[in-house]
Chain length 82, copies 2
């Protein structure tokens, strides 16, 4: 499976609970697209959220994020990791 980093902008002031709820909403339906959201990090000051996942495609990642109401602004396949 491919590895992706997707980026959300515009989430200024996001709280730990909101991040947890958004992540849990993705986890609840991810298997319907064969996606595995591994981790998410958030910067409440700039409103930037990064999500690391493994998935069949970037579109599959976006379909899950759309259904849970937080579409990604960027999705990058990141085949290289150290």
């Amino acid at each position: 499976m491919a590895r992706f980093m997707d980026v959300h902008h515009g989430m200024r002031g996001i709280t730990e609970d909101q991040l947890r709820q958004a992540h849990d909403a993705d986890l609840a339906i991810q298997q319907e697209e064969g996606v595995d959201f591994r981790q998410a990090w958030a910067d409440p000051e700039s409103g930037t959220v990064y999500c690391l996942s493994e998935a069949p495609s970037a579109d599959a990642v976006q379909r899950i994020h759309e259904r849970t109401g937080h579409k990604a602004d960027e999705i990058h396949e990141v085949p290289l990791a150290v």
Copy 2:
């Protein structure tokens, strides 16, 4: 310690070896600034590289990256993680 995600743009075509060398160069001197680079991911197509670290400050992260020749284009503190 604070947690940071820094982002490099303009690394189109980066190879696994180049990513490994850049990361190893950071690891070799990181303790001089109390930085701990945990992981890095790269998208050779868009030239985007993400580095996750724990550090005393964003400046400390940038000082290490500058000394190893690959200054970050963005550095976000990411206090929230799931």
